[in-house]
């Protein structure tokens, strides 16, 4: 990025907001179709009842909850990159933070849909909201489900505001280069930003404070989600490891999704000079670290189930390894703990195809992990008489696919409507234009010209 100037940064990044090619519209149309299919299946489920999904006693938390936990996990990495790495002054976050934050917001939005989809009567979801009402009912603030509502809504609000505050100077850049209705819309969204010293002063403090406030949310939100399970008594759920286990897994899956999104984005938008291989390598190294955490968690869980002496807990972990869902378990171990080990090799860390491939594998593995924990534990709890095994039906599979389509649709819209790389932060990392540097460059160029002239003359002579 050393060759960039402030002007070229504007031109490069704003160039991505121009009219897209036909393939873009085709992909958007496909994704909208996927979303509509998912929505139609949900409407069918509401009309016909939850029986059309694969619910089978005792498994009453099916892949809707798997998806909920999966998408909340995806969201965490965005906040890790944008907030936590900002506090650590990690320069490699600059080019990827905006896209990662957008991923967070879209992932939280989709995650928030699944508790509604999972409800038999989704039209009364608002009973969970604490407000004075005619029924004189209040939610139970000791319940992890209420914690979930508070944590996820707080996380969404904070992530949205953090993302938006970072966008304000960039919206002003677009406003100043747009005309017509676009200028009005971006002008409204930029809140009258003029880049005065006063505004930059308060902006800098606010951004730092928001980063500091969003950081504990990375740990707290997924800990709260994990307590949906840990507060239950079912073997396989009732474990104190769940909070750090889920948080580590969340960051692991989120980083993999960041790579899944950024590698095509970088290639298609020609951001090779902005999102460098070194940035992607840094993500790969972090993935290696979180992969080791997750692998360690798997080993510790197994060990503690035996060491704790709880027969039911021990049995559930044996069932995971050799039972009905053992294929999912081994797929999970392979994808989450073994596959990231390839990132020990620099050749793998710096190759785009291997980075993308391993990221997809980790995404699959992390979804599978949630399946093994949530469904595997519920299928075989204390009483063998009531054991039964769940298989997804077409309704929940279509809704799951629809949620993925919605995520990618929102991300593609974001890439075309808003700058996917932070203009202001990229400029902050560049050397500012200095007259003395310009004079030095010109005298260097002049001296090089004169050297060439002397050499030419010398040769001629």
């Amino acid at each position: 990025m050393e060759n960039f100037s402030y002007l070229s940064v504007n031109q490069k990044i704003l160039g991505t907001l121009s009219r897209p090619r036909k393939i873009y519209y085709f992909v958007i149309a496909l994704l909208i179709l996927g979303v509509l299919c998912g929505a139609a299946c949900w409407a069918y489920q509401i009309t016909m009842g939850l029986g059309v999904a694969g619910y089978v006693h005792p498994v009453f938390w099916i892949i809707y909850l798997v998806n909920f936990v999966f998408w909340i996990g995806i969201a965490h990495s965005g906040t890790l990159i944008s907030a936590i790495l900002y506090l650590f002054r990690a320069k490699w976050r600059t080019a990827i933070a905006r896209s990662a934050e957008a991923m967070t917001i879209f992932a939280v939005m989709i995650a928030a849909l699944f508790p509604l989809i999972h409800l038999g009567r989704p039209w009364i979801f608002y009973w969970l909201i604490p407000y004075p009402n005619q029924r004189t009912l209040w939610p139970n603030f000791q319940s992890p489900l209420v914690f979930d509502f508070l944590a996820v809504s707080t996380y969404f609000t904070v992530s949205l505001l953090f993302w938006y505050v970072g966008l304000i100077p960039d919206l002003a850049v677009i406003r100043d280069r747009a005309n017509g209705i676009r200028q009005r819309i971006y002008g409204f969204l930029s809140l009258g930003w003029i880049g005065s010293h006063n505004q930059w002063h308060h902006y800098g403090t606010t951004y730092l404070l928001l980063a500091g406030l969003a950081t504990p949310l990375v740990v707290s939100v997924h800990s709260v989600v994990s307590w949906d399970f840990a507060f239950c008594v079912i073997p396989g759920y009732h474990s104190t490891i769940f909070a750090p286990y889920f948080v580590a897994g969340a960051i692991h899956s989120g980083l993999a999704m960041v790579l899944t999104l950024l590698i095509p984005l970088r290639t298609i938008l020609r951001f090779e000079e902005i999102i460098t291989i070194k940035d992607l390598e840094s993500i790969a190294k972090t993935l290696l670290l979180t992969g080791l955490f997750v692998g360690y968690s798997y080993i510790v869980e197994q060990f503690m189930s035996w060491y704790g002496g709880n027969r039911f807990e021990h049995d559930i972990f044996i069932f995971r390894v050799i039972g009905h869902y053992s294929f999912m378990f081994w797929l999970m171990v392979l994808c989450n703990a073994i596959a990231p080990l390839f990132f020990f090799l620099k050749k793998v860390r710096t190759n785009l195809k291997s980075l993308f491939g391993i990221a997809i594998i980790i995404n699959i593995g992390m979804w599978t992990e949630r399946f093994v924990i949530i469904i595997g534990s519920m299928a075989q709890d204390f009483i063998p008489y009531q054991w039964d095994f769940y298989s997804p039906k077409w309704v929940e599979i279509t809704i799951t696919v629809g949620s993925f389509c919605l995520f990618f649709l929102l991300f593609l819209l974001f890439v075309k409507l808003l700058p996917s790389v932070s203009i202001a932060e990229i400029k902050e990392n560049l050397n500012p234009p200095m007259r003395r540097q310009q004079v030095k460059n010109q005298s260097y160029i002049a001296s090089e010209h004169s050297k060439k002239a002397v050499g030419y003359v010398g040769r001629t002579l």
Partner: protein, 190 residues
């Protein structure tokens, strides 16, 4: 060559009784940061009030040169956090006292789970206060951009808006030109 634009006619064409000490504003546009910092220094030495410094990027050098105090956003964030925490615990306590859920001898007001409610509401309200104070203190939410604003300030140009009287215009213009201003504009009466 320095271009000078006059955005308004001199006041003596409209108001013969105009006071030569009425305030005028000069906007200098710079391409280089070191020129901007030099002119800031020169204007401070000449005791000229600097209204605004525009820049396309946040620079610590400009903040230091302007001698700004720590932002008051911090205070509003703290207030929001305290209020949010209290509000969260109050809501949970009121809800549990109003609608008792008596389960297995557990306390009606259980402070351990209320820590989660306290924490989440603290973060939420402090963030809302923080953003609101940034918008208010930064004087954002304008209907119109200031007349002195140039769209190049979001691109690659720096600007400085200086207040002066009519008889100081020459002196201030000279300071701006000598410090390397590409353009100097007279903005109008402040």
């Amino acid at each position: 060559m320095i271009k000078v634009w006059k955005h308004t006619q001199p006041p003596f064409q409209y108001n013969i009784k105009a006071n030569m000490k009425d305030k005028q504003q000069l906007l200098g546009i710079f391409a280089y940061l070191d020129d901007l910092l030099n002119v800031l220094k020169a204007l401070k030495e000449a005791n000229q009030p600097i209204e605004t410094v525009y820049s396309p990027v946040r620079r610590d050098e400009i903040q230091e040169a302007m001698g700004l105090k720590p932002s008051a956003v911090r205070f509003f964030t703290l207030v929001g956090g305290v209020l949010g925490g209290i509000a969260g615990v109050s809501l949970a306590s009121y809800a549990h006292l109003r609608w008792n859920l008596i389960t297995s001898g557990k306390p009606i007001l259980a402070w351990i789970p209320f820590v989660v409610v306290f924490f989440e509401s603290l973060i939420l309200i402090s963030v809302l206060f923080s953003v609101a104070s940034m918008v208010l203190k930064g004087r954002m939410l304008r209907k119109r951009l200031p007349i002195a604003y140039d769209t190049r300030f979001t691109q690659d140009r720096f600007g400085i808006l200086v207040s002066c009287t009519w008889d100081e215009i020459g002196k201030v213009s000279k300071i701006l030109e000598e410090s390397g201003a590409e353009e100097v504009h007279e903005i109008g009466q402040s």
